[in-house]
């Protein structure tokens, strides 16, 4: 687990083409993606942002990033 700050982000408001996109079982919901600048690593990594509310995504917010099988996932650090 690595921490960092959100460098930039957007929200995917429409369902990407399937395939290759795999729709969640309960249907498409808009989701956030972004680049997290990792502390002390000199790099920004693309990640899916697991945030409770899309309206709360801000540049500079603190996130923890977890390598997963595929695209890294980031969630807010509870302060």
């Amino acid at each position: 687990m690595t921490e960092g700050t959100l460098w930039t982000w957007t929200v995917q408001r429409f369902a990407p083409k399937s395939p290759p996109y795999v729709l969640p079982e309960d249907g498409f919901r808009p989701f956030a993606v972004g680049y997290v600048e990792l502390d002390g690593e000199g790099v920004r990594v693309a990640a899916v942002l697991d945030v409770p509310d899309l309206d709360d995504v801000r540049i500079g917010m603190r996130l923890s990033v977890k390598a997963s099988g595929g695209v890294p996932r980031a969630r807010p650090v509870s302060s």
Partner: protein
């Protein structure tokens, strides 16, 4: 690069039609030759290509089997620019004194459909919904707005201008005016970009006839420089799992600087500009990357109407990609066609007043490529 002239230029209508990409290309080449007052048999070499509509060298079946060398170019958004650079080199090397460059395309409706494996990415990027080009544009301008105090309203004004200029351009695809309020209300695609801020994949062709200054021409424009560059380390591009921390490098900045240096001119000399406007944010950022203003200055410039046809720095006078659509292979030479018409004073309802003397074109695309030209009367 003195001595290379554009003596003929043409484009087709980019409106959706029954035409194939090849038919667009043949029509554009024949019209460019007619504009130059030349026959196909006079052409000594040709360069061109499309991204998705076939090989340019097959066009000889329709244009005439004269035996000329016809080189295929496939260079994404820089296809037209690369064809142009090759044509210039053919003239300067003495290979031929009359050379054609052509770009054409025809894409299916809807967003482009990239595959992770073609980009060296794990399948998960597709599965998780990250193989979407528009996300990149949203994220690049999102950071730019944050750093430089640009507002979404400015992004909407760029699109409003594009549709207005498109309404003045007979060959544009989108010819209906759309207000900034309608642009803002058209629905977010990828924050902060809305639906009407984006161009769509489209169709069309553009062609130019180039010649050495020894050839007798009518109404030529001088091609002062034509440059293609690929990205350096530290740039931010579409479908990048990682981006280096620190200030970003820009291939557009590199290509524009090289084009101005070769032309012995600077951005302040330019009277009319064409910039890659895949979406509104791209036009805003490319204004700075190509040297026409400082970062953040766009907010005031655009609000003051500087980039309008009657402004101090007219940008995308034909409506750009937003109003013309994006046939990838054709866009670069569409831009050159527009500048040629502006410098000749033949741009009709969208003519920049005051007899513009110097023009500039810029394309940018995946995977970090840019092509720029400087033209003068």
């Amino acid at each position: 690069m003195t001595g290379v002239l554009i003596c003929g230029a043409a484009r087709t209508s980019f409106a959706r039609s029954e035409r194939t990409g090849r038919e667009h290309a043949v029509a554009a080449i024949n019209a460019a030759l007619a504009d130059a007052g030349m026959e196909w048999s006079r052409v000594g070499a040709a360069f061109g290509g499309s991204d998705a509509a076939g090989l340019a060298d097959t066009l000889v079946a329709d244009l005439g089997l004269t035996g000329l060398p016809f080189v295929n170019v496939k260079n994404g958004c820089a296809t037209g620019g690369s064809a142009l650079v090759s044509a210039v080199n053919a003239i300067r090397s003495g290979m031929a004194d009359v050379v054609v460059a052509v770009g054409f395309d025809k894409h299916p409706r809807g967003a482009f459909d990239p595959r992770p494996e073609d980009w060296g990415l794990d399948d998960a990027y597709g599965r998780d919904g990250l193989m979407v080009t528009t996300q990149f544009f949203g994220m690049k301008i999102q950071r730019y707005l944050h750093d430089h105090g640009i507002t979404p309203r400015t992004l909407a004004l760029v699109a409003e201008k594009a549709y207005r200029n498109g309404s003045l351009t007979p060959e544009a695809w989108r010819r209906k005016e759309v207000s900034a309020d309608e642009v803002l209300a058209s629905g977010l695609v990828n924050d902060p970009l809305t639906r009407f801020m984006f161009c769509s994949p489209g169709e069309g062709a553009a062609a130019v006839v180039l010649c050495s200054s020894s050839v007798t021409t009518r109404d030529p424009v001088t091609l002062r420089s034509a440059v293609v560059r690929t990205r350096r380390a530290g740039s931010f591009e579409v479908f990048s799992p990682l981006v280096d921390a620190g200030p970003l490098t820009s291939v557009s900045r590199d290509a524009a600087a090289a084009a101005f240096e070769q032309a012995s001119l600077g951005p302040s000399d330019v009277d009319v500009v064409q910039l890659q406007d895949t979406e509104s944010g791209a036009e805003v950022m490319h204004l700075a990357e190509c040297g026409f203003c400082d970062d953040g200055e766009q907010e005031k410039l655009i609000a003051a109407g500087a980039t309008e046809i009657g402004g101090t720095l007219p940008v995308n006078t034909d409506g750009g990609c937003i109003a013309n659509g994006e046939p990838i292979g054709a866009s670069g030479l569409r831009q050159v066609y527009e500048i040629v018409q502006q410098l000749r004073g033949r741009a009709g309802a969208r003519q920049v007043p005051g007899h513009p003397q110097i023009g500039f074109t810029h394309v940018y695309g995946a995977p970090g490529v840019s092509a720029c030209t400087v033209l003068s009367r």
